[in-house]
Symmetry: C2
Subunit: 156 residues, 2 copies
């Protein structure tokens, strides 16, 4: 379904504006796919994202700021997401020894197991990933990277 159909309109101010709406719509579309996949595991997209980040650095822990820096949505309240993951025992947290302002956060065995389960389901669903060739996906990423350049205007 093309974006004109998805938003039931042909009125776009410009190609750039149309692309912008398309990005936001596609992100929302992707998000709802991911959320519905994660639903039966009881984790939100943000929680899943954090677990993947922690697996990436495992067994080295990360501090909360390191995690925020790696998150898709930089405005997330990392503390609150951590609280949820601690309750579920998917992560551990302890005060930093070198810099006592920081906290160290590490994924637990249980957290790793959860990710493994989700990975397996994903492997089965592989074909439904994104309907793009590697080259197209690469091009898309390059365009998105370019789009965000030179955004320095009068209001920063």
């Amino acid at each position: 379904m093309k974006i004109e159909e998805a938003l039931k309109t042909n009125k776009f101010k410009s190609d750039q504006h149309k692309a912008m709406l398309n990005i936001m719509f596609t992100a929302s579309w992707l998000r709802s796919k991911v959320v519905s996949k994660l639903k039966c595991y009881g984790v939100s997209q943000e929680q899943y994202n954090v677990l993947r980040i922690l697996r990436g650095s495992y067994p080295t822990p990360l501090c909360a700021k390191d995690i925020t820096d790696r998150m898709i949505d930089k405005n997330s309240n990392t503390t609150r997401i951590m609280d949820k993951l601690i309750t579920k025992e998917y992560i551990n947290k302890w005060r930093g020894e070198v810099d006592r302002r920081e906290v160290n956060i590490s994924i637990t065995e249980l957290g790793l197991e959860l990710l493994k389960e989700i990975d397996q389901e994903e492997a089965i669903d592989k074909p439904n990933y994104l309907n793009l060739s590697d080259a197209e996906a690469g091009l898309l990423s390059a365009l998105l990277d370019k789009l965000r350049e030179k955004s320095v205007t009068r209001e920063q």
Copy 2:
């Protein structure tokens, strides 16, 4: 800033996965830009989106469902967004005469004025739109449209 920098990682499962994270990150990035622009006008991105939709059909009113169909985030709670806009007197709402389940919603003069103001500010800020040529923006939209195709898998 390339996506590798933005998320401080080089580990992507595939080009498709990287593109997916890039879309979500870019959407979040765009969103925070739009939100900060709208902040001084006291409307959220979703509220702004609805007002633009209503202006598009003005003076013909739309029912709540028509609006949802045109929204970027189809999961939004349209009723609640309308409530906010009614309080601010940017829209009017009345029960449908033909189908009494529906409500008719129309933008007010005040709502139109607000949009005009925002348009004017935007015109000044034009250069900071998206750093893409018309052709690039078109290509990006085409890739996003393609990406969403054929998403019919075993689960629905």
